[in-house]
């Protein structure tokens, strides 16, 4: 009798399954033996609970990418708290059955299929997994991936670059007409003549460290521009120069910059190969080499211009102990306090980028400084405006579409 009742109960359980309850071996073409793929055990379960499938499955081509990616989004199953997770099934337009392509844990509503072919149409089904069964959603609409030609998420960057470039061009043209542009005195740059003159009088070399950043750092490029101007003064004053480099590319660039500066001053014969040196790529090996040069060759003036990290204080403090006149400049806010402490003059942040214009006094470069100032003014006004709005308690985030 008992056996009869159990058999009856198990038979009753099967018709209770909704039409969306699909057993895996019948619907999944591959990979049927995957360990995380649930295998139907309904025949072994006397009573299996049934779960509602997820709904509203949408599939779109991932925006602003190189193609081959489709994004899925769905609404969680009402039984999300009880299910084991979701399985993602995909079918290409020429396929006959859905194939499992991935899975997620419960509570997740998105999935990215990164293994699709461009220009091929796909449909997706998201299935809730529970009791070893799959409770499948309705299939998504057909979707095709393709590569984009423009990154719409970067429109704001493009607009800013265009606006800044136009401002720069306008001010450069204005400067070309001969209009005098005011530039405030930058103490560190005003002292360059004194620094070079001091070294000449003392008959000692000038040490110029172009930072520890490779040539892809903007601070290093700015440092190369300043090196060119400093080298011109050195050629003029007939002083000696030491430019140690951490990277092979900065070595070749700084060598050319110094050589060109000597040529432009009409003194190519004064340039010596030993002025520009390659040292080592090791960060603290480089710091040790610089401190060694300071202690042995006792430069009268030290320039630390470019990108620096933890070694900045080691070099600047050693220079201070040797009694050298020191000018530093970096855009690294963490190293600025060390330079301010140990050096006579420090170019803070943007002053590093203004140095070339300041030293050369070329109208075109001075015009570009004005563009920087206008850019900062615009950003400051925007920041001020948003601060006022924030004080007034107005929440702009929903209006801007920010979650």
């Amino acid at each position: 009798m008992l056996i009869l009742l159990i058999t009856l109960a198990s038979h009753l359980a099967i018709p209770l399954s909704p039409c969306l309850l699909i057993t895996v071996p019948q619907t999944i073409s591959t990979p049927q033996t995957s360990p995380d793929l649930p295998v139907s055990q309904s025949s072994e379960l006397p009573v299996s609970r049934q779960y509602a499938p997820p709904s509203k499955v949408t599939a779109i081509d991932k925006p602003n990418d190189a193609g081959s990616v489709i994004q899925l989004r769905w609404t969680l199953s009402p039984d999300d708290a009880s299910i084991e997770g979701y399985t993602i099934l995909r079918k290409a337009s020429e396929d006959t059955a859905y194939t499992k392509i991935g899975s997620t844990i419960s509570g997740v509503t998105t999935f990215e299929d990164e293994d699709v072919q461009d220009s091929v149409q796909y449909k997706y089904i998201v299935a809730a997994i529970g009791n070893g069964e799959m409770y499948r959603s309705e299939p998504s609409a057909l979707v095709t991936s393709y590569p984009q030609l423009f990154h719409t998420g970067r429109i704001n960057v493009l607009l800013c670059i265009v606006a800044f470039t136009l401002t720069l061009a306008y001010l450069v043209i204005k400067a070309r007409t001969g209009k005098d542009l005011f530039i405030r005195k930058i103490a560190g740059l005003a002292a360059v003549d004194e620094a070079v003159g001091r070294a000449t009088e003392m008959g000692k070399p000038i040490l110029y460290v172009p930072g520890l950043g490779d040539i892809d750092w903007t601070a290093t490029i700015a440092s190369m521009n300043i090196l060119g101007e400093v080298a011109k003064k050195i050629a003029l004053y007939d002083s000696a120069l030491i430019v140690p480099n951490r990277w092979s590319v900065t070595y070749t660039v700084s060598k050319e910059v110094v050589k060109e500066a000597f040529i432009s001053e009409g003194s190519p014969e004064k340039f010596k190969e030993e002025y520009v040196r390659y040292v080592t790529e090791s960060q603290f090996g480089f710091a040790a080499a610089i401190t060694g040069i300071m202690m042995r060759e006792k430069p009268a003036t030290n320039f630390f211009i470019g990108r620096f990290w933890a070694e900045s204080l080691i070099m600047a403090e050693t220079g201070a102990q040797t009694g050298a006149f020191q000018i530093a400049g970096t855009d690294s806010v963490l190293q600025l306090p060390f330079f301010v402490t140990a050096c006579d003059y420090t170019l803070i942040g943007e002053e590093l980028y203004a140095a070339s214009a300041y030293l050369s006094r070329e109208p075109l470069l001075l015009g570009s400084l004005k563009a920087q100032d206008y850019g900062k003014l615009v950003v400051l006004l925007i920041l001020f405006g948003f601060t006022v709005i924030s004080f007034l308690g107005i929440n702009l985030l929903p209006l801007l579409g920010v979650q």
């Binding site: 910059v257 402490t341 590093l352």
Partner: protein, 207 residues
């Protein structure tokens, strides 16, 4: 021509890379990848020049018996020994090259880094002498921040930790952001100036 060619290459490459930034198409990514491969090739060539310079500089010092020329022997010997070991026996994790690096180079680097603590002490002594208004402000704020972040700071005054945090989060953060704002515009302006050929210091100035 000597000036115009580098300027033209700089302009074309610079503009191409800016345009590439806005195009996610695979062709654009391939172009970017190709440029980066060229950079690697250029770096390898530059390394040959750099090592040549290193050998020439130290070789001259040894040959002319300049002051402290003995150090140059150590430098050149180290380079030759490491290069030979690396080329002969490889640079696998268990290789002799890696063992020398880990047991000699790494501790030496660590030693230099540890010296920072002593340099900080001497720099702090110099900066904390209240010789000007700025130095006095620096001394005061550093004192408050240090005491505030120490466990016993709250026993000196219950508001010390909060005040120290305020200094870090408001005046310190505001000035840092101000500097970063200037740096951002300076970076963009420098890049544009070089791409557009306005900045020519790297070519020896305007001609």
């Amino acid at each position: 021509m000597k000036r115009k060619l580098p300027l033209a290459i700089c302009f074309i490459t610079g503009v191409s890379m800016i345009v590439q930034f806005f195009i996610p198409h695979p062709t654009s990514l391939e172009f970017s990848s190709m440029i980066y491969k060229w950079i690697i090739v250029l770096m390898a060539l530059a390394l040959i020049l750099a090592i040549g310079n290193l050998i020439r500089h130290h070789g001259n010092k040894i040959r002319r018996k300049k002051e402290n020329w003995q150090y140059s022997i150590v430098t050149l010997s180290g380079m030759v020994v490491m290069a030979t070991i690396g080329l002969a026996w490889g640079i696998d994790p268990d290789s002799l090259y890696q063992r020398i690096y880990l047991n000699v180079m790494a501790p030496l680097g660590g030693t230099m880094f540890a010296l920072l603590a002593y340099y900080m002490a001497s720099a702090a002594y110099r900066s904390f002498r209240a010789r000007s208004l700025e130095a006095t402000l620096l001394l005061l704020s550093a004192f408050i921040v240090m005491i505030g972040f120490m466990p016993f700071g709250q026993y000196l005054h219950p508001r010390f930790p909060a005040f120290a945090e305020w200094i870090m989060k408001v005046p310190n953060m505001a000035s840092q952001r101000g500097i970063l704002l200037g740096v951002a515009f300076g970076s963009i302006a420098t890049a544009l100036k070089i791409i557009l050929g306005i900045e020519r210091s790297w070519l020896g100035g305007k001609e």
